[in-house]
Symmetry: C2
Subunit: 161 residues, 2 copies
């Protein structure tokens, strides 16, 4: 590592652009979501993931895994959402330790109310700005990066590919 390979101009442009986009897109989407629907992005993600399941309910750990959140974070967050009446926490029938998070009618209503506007915002600020080729590239590249990051359990084994 004596002679690090710094990023060339093209690479630097992509990396900086990515980070800036990341930040700005996040701010704007969060802002609009809060303003229009009174939900934070984490709220929306929880509700959205729950509403995509057939029973509108998931084990806490299952939900945490899908969202790539720690259990602790989800537990805290569910407590807050529970207080607002968006979800409920129930005991799991098959595992005495477990708890099951369920969408309440109010929760379901909240996502359904929020979704059209949120999707429109995602389109307006990202999707509809891309050419078909860019859209395809983004899909392909992001999945490759995800696979790479999830493929190696943990740590940084010397790349052997």
């Amino acid at each position: 590592m004596d002679e690090p390979r710094w990023l060339d101009e093209q690479e630097d442009r992509a990396w900086r652009g990515y980070r800036r986009m990341r930040r700005l897109l996040d701010l704007e989407l969060a802002r609009e979501l809060m303003q229009d629907a009174g939900l934070s992005e984490p709220d929306y993600d929880v509700l959205s993931d729950l509403s995509e399941t057939p029973e509108q309910r998931l084990r806490l750990s299952e939900l945490a895994d899908r969202m790539l959140w720690s259990r602790s974070r989800l537990s805290h967050h569910i407590s807050r959402m529970q207080q607002r009446g968006l979800v409920t926490r129930e005991e799991c029938a098959t595992d005495g330790r477990g708890s099951v998070v369920t969408l309440t009618p109010a929760g379901r209503q909240a996502v359904e109310a929020a979704a059209p506007g949120h999707v429109a915002a995602v389109r307006r600020h990202l999707i509809d700005l891309l050419t078909p080729a860019e859209l395809a590239a983004l899909g392909t590249l992001s999945h490759r990066v995800v696979d790479h990051l999830t493929g190696r359990p943990t740590g940084r084994p010397e790349a052997k590919d």
Copy 2:
């Protein structure tokens, strides 16, 4: 907005992929950076931005703008970094209200020590996984999105383009 245009399969794939990549990449880069250099990503970004200036010093507001941070956030963060001896806060000579953030020798040393490993991680987990075409697409697309988001001062005027 009665009939929202949901994302089609291609779009959904890109959007989900993007978010998943975003999250995983962030976690991994932050993890490595902390482990290898004892810095959080925000720490690194502050130090990195400062070290890119000729004088290793910036007005607080200037730095905040570059980083897309609120002044309040930066002020808090600088206080913490100051305590750790990475930066100092000085009064601005030309504007009695202002403060200037300066990299300390320890701060400079910290970035320089961290940079090679961090760049290597960015390569390993992102840049080097992309084809030249994908790299170019990412650069182009992200800058377009950034321009779009910064072009409109605030709010959501009906798109007129």
